[in-house]
């Protein structure tokens, strides 16, 4: 595996965006932002909701040591994540490959992605630069953030499968391109700015996807998944704006 220390130090940095002249653009890793322009980091959030409840995942899965269970599963996007998302596109075959035998990396999941860092440095640079150039010019920006979302979903799911023994269900990912546009009740997403001033792309996955990803979770994975009724989530919103928005969304959905 390609582990050039420069690449590692560059691509493990959190992605930054600057809002300048009414436009938002990605900053290069060593770029100094213009004066008086707000700079944002970018995050992805995953929520899973059944009819009248949310799923909370145990810290045994996420290993963040912040709380026992998490309804809001959030990841910061790094330059490495962006590079992988730019590289993979929305190719379904990427999502079908779950390398369950590879180690779990909490800090740099992108390091284990599809051999992108197996190439010689020149080739890595060429791929990343050509892809990122497109991103930086904004042509692929929105698609890219969608890719990031699915990329993190896959990472999270892969992690869940390795730690719990849950069978990796390729069908879900094969279906993504097919059913997402048709069955919007199963997948909702939005972008918002959170209370810490971060740009968040958040998604809510509903019943059909949950049942495919975590079959019989209420029997087989009791140690890892907790069902939190909407009424309880409503009482524990705290400073989580993402949860405030999705709780409102889940009220009276039908």
């Amino acid at each position: 595996m390609y582990r050039d220390p420069t690449i590692l130090s560059v691509y493990s940095k959190p992605l930054r965006c600057v809002y300048e002249n009414k436009k938002l653009r990605f900053l290069f890793y060593d770029e100094t932002p213009p004066d008086n322009c707000p700079v944002y980091s970018m995050w992805v959030e995953l929520f899973f909701a059944l009819n009248n409840s949310f799923l909370a995942f145990s810290d045994k899965i996420l290993q963040l040591n912040k709380q026992p269970y998490y309804i809001n599963i959030s990841f910061p996007i790094t330059y490495g994540d962006l590079a992988v998302a730019a590289y993979i596109g929305l190719g379904t075959s990427y999502f079908l490959e779950a390398r369950l035998d590879q180690p779990l990396s909490l800090d740099y999941p992108w390091l284990h992605e599809r051999g992108i860092f197996d190439f010689p440095p020149e080739r890595v640079d060429k791929i990343l630069h050509s892809r990122l150039l497109n991103v930086y010019t904004g042509k692929d920006s929105v698609l890219l953030t969608t890719n990031c979302l699915l990329y993190f979903l896959k990472q999270f799911y892969r992690r869940f499968c390795i730690l719990t023994g849950c069978p990796y269900n390729q069908e879900v990912f094969r279906d993504f391109r097919r059913f997402l546009p048709k069955d919007l009740t199963q997948f909702s997403s939005m972008g918002y700015v959170d209370l810490k001033g971060r740009l968040v792309y958040t998604a809510l996955f509903a019943d059909k996807i949950i049942k495919k990803l975590f079959p019989n979770f209420w029997h087989d994975y009791l140690d890892y998944i907790l069902e939190v009724p909407l009424s309880e989530a409503l009482l524990n919103l705290k400073d989580d704006l993402g949860l405030r928005l999705w709780v409102a969304h889940c009220m009276l959905r039908k």
Binding site: C17, K22, N51, Y136, L234
Partner: protein
């Protein structure tokens, strides 16, 4: 001040909501039968003293947050600077049954069913006086002091955010008002000059808390990321 609120249990499950609507429907018919000269079968919301329920988590108060879009650019919304310097991107209203409605509230003559929601009968939205003369353009007074709300223009509730100054017991619903059809063309420029995008609004100091949350929710930052030109920003 009496404000409308809905029991929390009615909002958190479809069965609870259906039971609530059934009860409201029955209540409406009974009122119709009792008052022989009633014009129609009206639905009524439940109203409570605001101070008594402000910290009650079993009742969810409805907040209508009116957002006025610029007539020249729908992505921009009118920004108000209140006398104390606070900036807002809209006006928040409680729903009341008081007549006349006190400032910061709106009253409806009644509701009817529309697709499993309460649809309003006609009313008037009054902009509180502190919002009227506070645009960034000197001498310009916000021209929509009173705004007619037509039958079934609103469906309640469609929450976009849960909020509360002390307890999370407010369901906030945004009400988008497209000023193009509400003001004379000669005012378009002035309304546009007091408008900005939510992303720009978020850069301002002294923002009202609820306005901030609404702007964060509707910031639509994708739009700003998408609207790039072809300039190569990172030159490798």
């Amino acid at each position: 001040m009496r404000v409308a609120a809905i029991p929390r249990n009615a909002l958190i499950s479809d069965e609870g909501w259906q039971a609530y609507l059934d009860a409201k429907n029955a209540e409406g018919w009974q009122a119709y039968l009792d008052a022989k000269n009633a014009r129609d079968h009206d639905l009524k919301l439940d109203y409570y003293e605001h101070d008594e329920i402000e910290e009650c988590s079993d009742l969810m108060q409805i907040i209508l947050f009116a957002i006025f879009h610029s007539p020249e650019n729908l992505e921009k919304v009118c920004i108000f600077t209140l006398p104390d310097g606070t900036k807002t991107c809209g006006v928040a209203y409680h729903i009341t049954d008081m007549d006349p409605a006190p400032p910061g509230t709106i009253s409806f003559k009644g509701f009817e069913f529309l697709l499993n929601r309460f649809a309003n009968r006609s009313s008037t939205l009054k902009i509180p006086p502190e919002y009227l003369g506070t645009s960034s353009t000197p001498g310009f007074e916000f021209p929509l002091a009173e705004l007619p709300i037509y039958n079934c223009e609103l469906s309640l509730p469609i929450p976009v955010l849960i909020w509360g100054p002390r307890v999370s017991n407010h369901i906030v619903q945004t009400f988008h008002i497209y000023t193009t059809y509400r003001v004379r063309k000669s005012l378009y420029g002035k309304l546009d000059s007091m408008s900005m995008s939510f992303m720009d609004f978020l850069c301002l100091p002294n923002k009202d808390e609820l306005s901030s949350l609404i702007a964060q929710r509707h910031s639509n930052w994708f739009y700003h990321l998408f609207e790039q030109d072809d300039t190569v920003i990172w030159n490798v």
